[in-house]
């Protein structure tokens, strides 16, 4: 059973002189090849994003009307788009947008959600009731519908898109964290901390938040994929990132679909990029869930 491997966790650092984080990673990679594959893709993506200026063969904004719709070839590996811009370079730069939106919105939503979830579990009573009702309200909107509504108010643009994705995801995280935190709340050590006269903030931040790390990390990775997908959908609808910024969903908008027959590379590569990166985050998130979710562990 998968859980059984976890018993080795205390043994490993003792017999090995390699750093602990590396040991853990290596063990993770051996135990969960799918998760490791996901992590590898994410690392490649992150590298591409940070080194975009170096590795991208062309300026992603450079239009060249003499070279519209060039098929993939030696010069333009992924071909060019309707403005003669290099598709490969735009995909590489697009990974910046995807990672930026994915990371910021999942970070903000998971963090705010965790704080809300823990806080509401800790204080209980009326606070909990009111937060829960508020969360219920937000949760009863489909993700994309709420995101659309937020964009409608704030307008498009990258910062607004991050906000539009963060807001609907907060209650989803808060819900999960709260249920973990509720069981923590009833454990003796929290009572002990209160008896010792520790402040609420200290108990929440020092004692409870660290103990909800597992669901937090799972949410963080799982939301990345969702956020990237959501950003792509919003941009595809023309409500996300604006031209001429390089973004995958935007690359699928309009021309890519209209020219799909003559220039299929315009529709295929960005779609593959979206799918692959979301896939990677989901693989990693899934493996993390298996590894970290106490419910699946053998006690």
């Amino acid at each position: 059973m998968a859980g059984e491997a976890d018993t080795t966790i205390e043994v490993l650092p003792a017999v090995s002189h390699i750093p602990r984080w590396l040991a853990v990673s290596l063990r993770f990679a051996r135990q969960r090849p799918l998760g490791a594959a996901g992590a590898a893709i994410i690392i490649i993506m992150a590298l591409a994003a940070s080194l975009a200026d170096v590795i991208a063969p062309f300026d992603p904004l450079k239009t060249d009307y003499a070279r519209m719709f060039q098929p993939p070839g030696a010069n333009h590996w992924f071909g060019t788009d309707a403005f003669g811009r290099d598709v490969l370079s735009r995909i590489i730069y697009g990974s910046r947008t995807a990672l930026l939106v994915g990371f910021s919105s999942s970070f903000f939503s998971a963090t705010l959600g965790a704080i809300l979830g823990v806080g509401s579990a800790y204080f209980g009573g009326r606070t909990d009731l009111i937060t829960q009702r508020l969360m219920d309200v937000l949760l009863s909107f489909p993700l994309i519908v709420l995101a659309l509504a937020v964009v409608a108010i704030l307008g498009s643009g990258i910062m607004n898109v991050i906000l539009a994705i963060t807001i609907p995801m907060i209650p989803r995280c808060a819900l999960v964290v709260r249920s973990t935190a509720l069981s923590l709340r009833r454990t003796p050590f929290v009572d002990a901390a209160r008896a010792l006269g520790f402040g609420h903030a200290r108990i929440i931040f020092r004692h409870m938040l660290p103990n909800v790390m597992a669901p937090y990390l799972i949410m963080l990775t799982a939301f990345q994929g969702q956020a990237i997908l959501l950003e792509a959908s919003l941009s595809f609808l023309g409500l996300g990132v604006a031209e001429p910024t390089a973004a995958w969903g935007l690359m699928l908008r309009g021309a890519a679909v209209e020219f799909a027959e003559r220039a299929p590379w315009m529709a295929i590569f960005p779609g593959v990029a979206i799918s692959l990166s979301v896939f990677a985050f989901n693989l990693l998130g899934d493996s993390l869930r298996d590894a970290l979710d106490p419910k699946l562990r053998v006690s």
């Binding site: 904004l61 409608a152 643009g157 023309g238 604006a242 309009g254 209209e258 799909a260």
Partner: protein, 542 residues
């Protein structure tokens, strides 16, 4: 030529007799018409890219209302479907103008019937135009302003309508040929002036069958249509397809035979490639354009040098070559549509003298940089370009314009927005520069210049400037009865707007491209997607 229709008339004659009779009497009116013999029957399925709001032509401003609904109505005059911009009568049989140009008398055809069987008379025409020109409280009329010259309408008898004008107007007849001005029934309007927002009762070639909101609209041949032998079709079905890709796919798969608004060149190529000689492509310049509008109140755009630099930097000839391959944008033109059928367009030789329309882009960019420097605008100056979040042709053009401005050292952020905030920001002056659009149903300076009047005179002018010289010129040209004199005034107007002041300026005029199944016959493209939509001449080949 009048045939009285009585119940049972059809039954009395065999079908074949009717058919041969129809052929005999109504073989096409020669000239521009098709050589083949029109065939009666069949249902035309066409695609429409939007859904109609209300059904009232007098208040709506979208083609999505006209395309499914125009076949139910007649108008007083119309543009000749085979020979734009010639004006012909629809329910008007003939008309004459007084020498001073202040009185127009129209004779109404006899025997025009509404779909409920009642006769259309001068009373209905008067009620219709009264509603358009002097709408009662609580009734909206979108184009009231264009009929300012009309003083009053009289009906000396049931087949005669007289328009009395306050001043002579060059555009009156064209305005009466407006495709929006459906003739409504006086009796209904009297009871409820808003009845037509949700109901159909016209005298057009097709009667109303059903509308499933958001899905499709169905019409059926009007057997009592005043023009005998028309329409050829048994009926039509308009299907609403909002997204471009499925709309193109609809034509390719034959689920729709035609779409009347227009496709971009890419879609056209795909359709032609897939269907070969089963499709025919009709193309025309389009009375639509995109404009760079500039908030003249914001610094540094209140400086004419900056505005001139912005227009100088845009290489319209390059844009024409490049954008025409991927978008609706194509023709280089000034304030008036270039191309066939346009009497007002500035010839190329004269046009190239205007700022930003010249062919030497290097020199223009150099001049632009010089002007910016002189105005104290630093290299890399940043500002925003508001745009509509519609891919075609808005965003495509936005990308182009930003790239052009980048080449004179300006750093522009693109801000596409939904329609609501877009218009809101334009109206409130909450923008620096933006991409604005204009589309009209005819080449008429009264329409095309409206956008450039002082902002307190024209709600279409978002550039927030006041210029009494332009307002004067506008009034003069509208009342000019001499064509040559009018043209001269128009040139002055154009030079002032585009060159001397560069308040706001056109980028390109659009191309209208209609790829349709070859079996759709009898429809000829016009420079406007608002015209020629009553479908009465259309027939389907086998």
């Amino acid at each position: 030529m009048r045939v009285t229709e009585r119940p049972g008339w059809h039954a009395a004659i065999t079908a074949s007799t009717i058919f041969s009779l129809a052929l005999l009497l109504f073989s096409p009116p020669g000239g521009a018409a098709e050589k083949e013999n029109p065939r009666s029957g069949g249902e035309l399925v066409f695609a429409v890219g939007e859904t109609p709001p209300s059904y009232d032509g007098h208040r709506e401003t979208t083609f999505a209302m006209l395309h499914p609904i125009a076949p139910h109505y007649s108008t007083l005059l119309r543009f000749d479907p085979q020979g734009y911009p010639k004006i012909i009568g629809d329910v008007a049989e003939s008309w004459s103008a007084s020498k001073d140009g202040l009185t127009y008398t129209f004779k109404i055809r006899k025997g025009v019937k509404f779909h409920d069987g009642s006769e259309l008379t001068s009373k209905d025409v008067k009620a219709t135009y009264d509603k358009i020109i002097l709408p009662p409280q609580g009734v909206a009329s979108a184009r009231k302003a264009y009929y300012d010259m009309v003083d009053r309408i009289e009906t000396p008898d049931i087949y005669t309508v007289v328009f009395h004008l306050k001043y002579p107007s060059a555009s009156l007849l064209a305005n009466l040929a407006s495709p929006w001005n459906f003739i409504y029934k006086a009796e209904i309007l009297e009871k409820d002036p808003r009845w037509y927002e949700k109901n159909i009762m016209g005298s057009g070639p097709f009667t109303f069958v059903e509308y499933v909101p958001g899905s499709h609209w169905v019409g059926k041949k009007n057997p009592n249509y005043f023009m005998k032998g028309r329409p050829y079709l048994d009926g039509y079905k308009a299907i609403f397809i909002r997204d471009t890709a499925p709309r193109v796919a609809a034509i390719r798969s034959g689920q729709a035979l035609i779409e009347f608004r227009g496709f971009n060149p890419a879609a056209k190529e795909d359709i032609v490639k897939a269907l070969g000689d089963k499709v025919v492509v009709q193309e025309s310049p389009w009375i639509c354009n995109l404009t760079v509008t500039i908030n003249n109140e914001k610094k540094p755009f209140d400086d004419v040098r900056v505005r001139r630099a912005l227009t100088l930097a845009i290489d319209r000839w390059e844009a024409s070559k490049a954008l025409s391959q991927i978008s609706l944008m194509k023709y280089v033109g000034g304030l008036f549509r270039p191309g066939a059928g346009s009497q007002y367009a500035t010839p190329e030789a004269e046009l190239t003298k205007l700022a930003g329309f010249g062919k030497n882009i290097e020199a223009a960019r150099k001049e632009a940089r010089r002007l910016l420097k002189e105005a104290g605008v630093p290299e890399g100056f940043s500002f925003t370009l508001k745009n509509r979040n519609v891919r075609e042709p808005y965003e495509v053009t936005g990308v182009f314009v930003i790239d052009q401005w980048r080449q004179i050292g300006l750093n522009v952020t693109h801000m596409p927005q939904e329609g609501g905030p877009y218009f809101n920001d334009f109206r409130q002056g909450n923008y620096e520069t933006g991409i604005d659009f204009n589309c009209d149903f005819m080449d008429e300076p009264d329409y095309q210049l409206l956008k450039f009047l002082s902002s307190d005179k024209s709600p279409l002018n978002y550039a927030r400037y006041k210029d009494s010289v332009l307002d004067d010129l506008y009034e003069k040209q509208g009342r000019a009865t001499n064509a040559k004199e009018r043209l001269k005034l128009l040139r002055q107007f154009e030079k002032r707007v585009l060159d001397e002041q560069a308040y706001q300026f056109h980028i390109l005029w659009w191309q209208r491209i209609i790829p349709h199944w070859a079996k759709v016959k009898g429809w000829k493209i016009t420079p406007s997607h608002y015209l020629n939509q009553d479908l009465r001449e259309i027939w389907l080949a086998e």
